[in-house]
Amino acid sequence: MSLDFKPGAFDFFRDETFRESFTYRNSNPLRFPFPFDRDDYMYSVNMEPHVPGRKGTAFEHVFDVDEHYVSEMIDRAKVLADDPLRCQSLPHMTLAGWDLLELIMEAKARDYPQWFSLTKNGNRWHWVNRPLGIEQSLTFLDESTLPYGPFEYITRQTQGDFSLQDERDNDLWMDAGMITSQADWSLDFDIGMSFMEWHAPVPLAHEKGVFDRALKFLLKLQHGAPVRRFNWTMTVNPLLDTAPETYPKWGPTKTTLTQENLGAKQHLRVELQSLWRLPRSNAIAFDIRCYLCSFEQIVTVPKWARRLHRVVRDLPEELAAYKGFLRNRPAMVEWLSKYDDGAPTSPGWWPDD
């Protein structure tokens, strides 16, 4: 795979950009995984089983392949060409990379047979990824048969950031990552850290015991029983790659919002995170799938419009600061208030049918 592949082989995949011209759009906002199940927000462990969900939503399959797939993979290839440090794997994580490759190839071939196929003859595998125009014969567990290490190979073909956690000393160590659509954290700085270390900068949650409970929960995670949770933040423009490395480039866009352009430029950024125990390595794969939706698309769903207004308005100041939108919160609240008539909202995150 290179930067040369082009969308177009399938009409389903949008030809769009996450930089410069920012032509990213959602054809159907109802597909967006809106993360707020009530009118306020505070950190919690909020894990639930990651099982296939409603048809036509981001939850239908465990590795959601949506209309942005091809364009996101082009964007990832560009990020890696600019900065190869965004994908790193410490030497002992190769087996976990194979585990992840197997998990993703099997899931995609099962759930999207029109786009992906995997044929196995013992350890000799044949993988076809039609949207990206990839055909690859490989020998499972033999690195020399792939153009990249197994972790990089499969995550260059899978939406979502991924990290791999090694389990040692009753702790999880983030010892590999493919991180190109991150909410402002640096893999290169954090790789090798323990669970508490890489979460260290998060405010309020440590004091509430959220991370102690989350670590205990994850150490018990079983193979075949993945879990998921939401996280979220705010991003100006549909920019996937909000990395600290490039913050001087994208930081100034936070100062460009007006009441006139806010609906189009301001995006709610949702991470649908899923966690998977891997069978051979006993590592845990962490899939951080990023979905972006502009405010003007969110407010087409009346329940979401009312709720987003209330969540943004009432969020504790430390969280708005940590999530990097304290300076724009008053403008967001002003813009969103026009779409909140004060009516009660129904529980849960689904739009009202």
């Binding site: 850290m193 270390e197 100034p252 936070k254």
Partner: protein, 204 residues
């Protein structure tokens, strides 16, 4: 006395006074006032002569010029080596680690930059963290990595400061990477270029 560290976030290292523990080899790495931590430890050790007979000390003066070479030599350690700077000390440490076996006790003392870089080399050889004791003494200047250009600036005293590699104005976080042995520096005027607060001496 141990340089006090206010616990802030959980990646920020914390330290404790060194204590002599039984071991086959006692590898001591220190800079500046870190020498005093080792002198104090030896003063309290019950098996002092045994430790001295299997001790290897690697030392450099501190970033503030403090040089306790004479006091360390007077301890009577089996091996003592003085390097002019921390970077000059590391190749010898790496060589010594190549022969160090399980049962080695590691004692690191002095600035956080020295402790962090020595710890990184020790951990790279696979020794458990439990074998490494660390006591912060003396200067609190920081070793900071610029998250943007990846260059490391040594002995950072002010916050914000100018990255010695790319020139961006960085604020100093408490977020710390043991793999890089550095705190993280992030551009302070990214959103409002040119709006840089007056630098304040936070680390001395």
């Amino acid at each position: 006395m141990l340089t006090p560290v206010t616990p802030t976030i959980r990646s920020r290292p914390v330290y404790a006074p060194l204590e002599a523990r039984p071991g086959r080899l006692h590898l001591m790495v220190a800079d500046g006032e870190g020498a005093d931590a080792l002198v104090d430890m030896m003063g309290k050790a019950s098996d002092r002569s045994q430790i001295l007979a299997s001790a290897h000390m690697i030392y450099a003066p501190g970033p503030n010029g403090t040089d306790r070479t004479d006091a360390l030599k007077a301890l009577g350690l089996r091996q003592f080596f003085r390097a002019p700077t921390v970077p000059a000390l590391l190749p010898r440490l790496i060589r010594v680690l190549a022969d160090a076996h399980m049962g080695t006790q590691f004692y690191l003392a002095g600035t956080e930059g020295l402790i962090g870089q020595a710890e990184r080399e020790i951990m790279a050889t696979g020794f458990p963290m439990g074998a490494i004791q660390k006591e912060h003494r003396g200067s609190t200047v920081r070793r900071v990595q610029c998250v943007h250009c990846k260059g490391i600036t040594e002995n950072v005293a002010t916050d914000p400061f100018k990255c010695s590699h790319c020139g961006l104005n960085l604020f100093v976080r408490d977020h710390y990477s043991r793999r890089i042995a550095a705190f993280q520096g992030v551009n302070i005027d990214a959103e409002d270029p040119g709006l840089v607060p007056e630098p304040v001496v936070r680390f001395k």
